[in-house]
């Protein structure tokens, strides 16, 4: 299959390219940038994709998308969420281990990656459980899990309470240089909390989670990272103080990376409004000042990547009083529009903004991806930056319709998604 993507504006953050260039794809790879490869001309492309008015960039790389398989198929299936990924321009994603059963056995990981190996499906990288059952007590067989396809080891959003176990888990992972992905939230300070411990929680009578829950856990993680030399990636940072600590740790020579969830870039505690269960997220939406620090931190690179933290929840799970409602928001199809919105609002060049959802997260995953260089896998997203995407239940392909943005319209609509040179999504088909 030979594909010619013509008349587009090519943005490739990996090479800092932002230029009108055609792209040529053959045998699943990028074979020509600007000009076709030699010999292309004889019978030309099998297919020509018109990218007039569009931006052509690497397929998005999402560091956190819950596919809900195995175990939670009533909330979402691999099919529904992969359709959502393709429609959102996401061609590669990491999924957290908090499935049921949790991803703590090689067989489960192999089954998931096997099930996900279809041409229309994004590349799936499971994050293996760092401890069995995510219980924070015993180590998983990390070497075996790695062979089965795990790119990193983490706890999703369940903390390891016992710091001795955390230390040993990080030491063991460091033995094999496996990355450790950890969310920084002290389980005691967060106990029973459902919202940021601030003005809104005080007003609504919701139990609060103080910023100290993040900073204390982060301090522990950073100290142990220094002790063990483990490659640590901090997931879903939520506070200004947290960002400052990451920056200080790097200055002190600790090789730590971190990401932020896309909702935390745009929303804050105020958006809980009148108990809007769609704003029930983990970590909680914090103050406006925290949100502004996250926006600035992502722009400067203090925060390395932006992820959807995609968490499909069925209606029954959200039609509950705020504190009883299930946590999370659907995000795969909102990652691109919300990235563009952030970039526009802080006047960030697209080539930098798109790096946070392509080449930068690819580097954290440790895979060769997120680039449009010659010879790269043809994982490509073509989107119209001006076409509106209206967030409605009908427009969302994810089985999870749970988003605080329902009814909102964003510019930025995917026209084509290619995975390994295969047209996985065609937005012109309506």
């Amino acid at each position: 299959m030979k594909i010619h993507i013509k008349n587009g504006r090519l943005i490739d953050p990996a090479s800092k390219t932002d230029k009108a260039l055609d792209l040529f794809v053959g045998a699943g790879r990028i074979v020509g940038v600007g000009n076709p490869p030699p010999g292309w001309g004889v019978d030309g492309a099998n297919s020509v994709l018109d990218a007039t008015g569009c931006i052509v960039c690497p397929g998005l790389v999402d560091l956190a998308a819950r596919l809900r398989e195995p175990g939670f198929e009533y909330r979402a299936t691999l099919e529904s969420e992969m359709a959502a990924a393709a429609a959102g321009g996401v061609t590669r994603l990491a999924c957290p281990p908090d499935t049921d059963p949790v991803l703590d056995e090689p067989g489960l990981v192999e089954m998931l990656t096997h099930r996900a190996r279809l041409p229309d499906f994004a590349h799936v990288h499971p994050v293996g459980a760092l401890t069995t059952q995510l219980e924070g007590k015993a180590l998983t067989e990390m070497a075996e899990l790695s062979e089965a396809g795990c790119v990193a080891f983490g706890q999703a959003n369940r903390a390891i309470v016992d710091t001795q176990v955390l230390l040993r888990a990080m030491m063991y992972a460091a033995t094999f240089d496996f990355p450790v992905w950890l969310q920084a939230q002290d389980p005691f300070l967060a106990r029973k909390g459902v919202a940021h411990d601030g003005e809104v929680a005080a007003r609504l009578g919701l139990a609060g989670i103080p910023v100290a829950a993040e900073t204390i856990a982060l301090a522990t993680i950073l100290h142990l990272a220094r002790e063990t030399g483990a490659r640590v990636h901090v997931t879903r940072i939520s506070s200004a103080a947290g960002v400052d600590m990451i920056v200080a740790a790097r200055a002190a020579g600790i090789a730590v990376t971190c990401d932020v969830g896309v909702h935390h870039l745009h929303l804050c505690e105020m958006d809980v409004g009148f108990f809007n269960a769609h704003a029930r997220l983990d970590p909680p939406l914090r103050s406006q000042r925290d949100r502004d620090a996250l926006r600035a931190g992502l722009a400067s690179g203090a925060i390395n990547a932006l992820c959807s933290d995609h968490t499909p929840v069925d209606d029954d799970g959200k039609q509950m009083p705020f504190e009883e409602a299930e946590i999370g928001a659907t995000g795969l199809e909102l990652l691109l529009p919300l990235t563009l919105k952030w970039a526009r609002e802080i006047k960030l060049p697209l080539v930098t903004a798109l790096a946070r959802v392509t080449s930068d997260p690819a580097r954290i995953l440790g895979v060769k991806a997120g680039s449009l260089g010659l010879g790269s896998a043809a994982d490509i997203c073509v989107f119209d930056p001006l076409a509106e995407f209206r967030v409605t239940r009908e427009n969302l392909r994810s089985q999870g319709k749970n988003t605080p943005f329902l009814g909102v319209e964003f510019p930025g609509r995917v026209r084509y998604t290619l995975i390994d040179g295969h047209l996985a999504f065609d937005g012109t088909l309506g």
């Binding site: 005080a202 007003r203 009578g205 409004g273 009083p321 943005f405």
Partner: protein, 325 residues
Amino acid sequence: MSFMNGGGNPQLNRHGELNHLLTIEGLPREVLERILDTAAPFTEVAEREVKKVPLLRGKSVFNLFFENSTRTRTTFEIAAKRLSADVINLNINTSSASKGETLLDTADNLAAMQADMFVVRHASSGAPYLIAQHLRATGRDHIHVVNAGDGRHAHPTQGLLDMYTVRHYKKDFTQLTVAIVGDVLHSRVARSQIHALTTLGVPEVRVIGPKTLLPTGVERLGVRVFNDMREGLRGVDVVMMLRLQNERMQGALLPSTQEYFKSYGLTPEKLALAKPDAIVMHPGPMNRGVEIDSAVADGGQAVILPQVTFGIAVRMAVMAMLAGN
């Protein structure tokens, strides 16, 4: 940013009239005053030979109590019956919820029984909002929701009856200093009192308590914070005591009831720091010897029993106004 359930004040209808009573926060001063004015003549109903007016005749009021409370449920029941409504009491923590029925399923089922009003008590903050939003989304806004206490969030009829009591004894809100004492963190009553007092123009509202029992950022609600009770009571016109739940002794919030009483219990000696004509209020049920000394609870400055009497009139006023809108 706009989102699905967030926009507007969900308790007002298109004409800005009260359709549900979910919280005092955000209600205009005139609405609060109208409720208090409407309550005044209802206090006389109780003194009649036939303690009934026909304002809610033929209407069905469902008391949905997902959390036990004999006292509040009884006062709502009396209020509805004095308005001639049919009253159905459901203690749901002992029926459907334990069978796995969701809150909204329960509401749907009762709505299908032609309910006119839901009086809702729930352990989770915001539960009555969820019901009101659901009724609106399904075109059944004619069913009115009265919040009878939700989690730590609000207890608006308690706040209103407290305002009625203050007005009865002190007349002018704009000259008062009011202190709210105790476990503000876990108190829906305190939140409703704070919003009511600030809306009605009380120039100084104080909250008094140990740091473990005051919410983060409480000063943003427009109150002055005192950790020393003696300092906080100096010169106040009204003392509103809060109930201290026994379970607060767990979870490292307080060391003991004895120590709490020493620091934050209202004794005659501490009350003497307030104005000589200060009144003492309590939402009940009281813990004598924990937050309040019996000498104060039974003393001449306490207006705790009149609060209960006024509570029925205020609840009658709220129900009558909602049914009339």
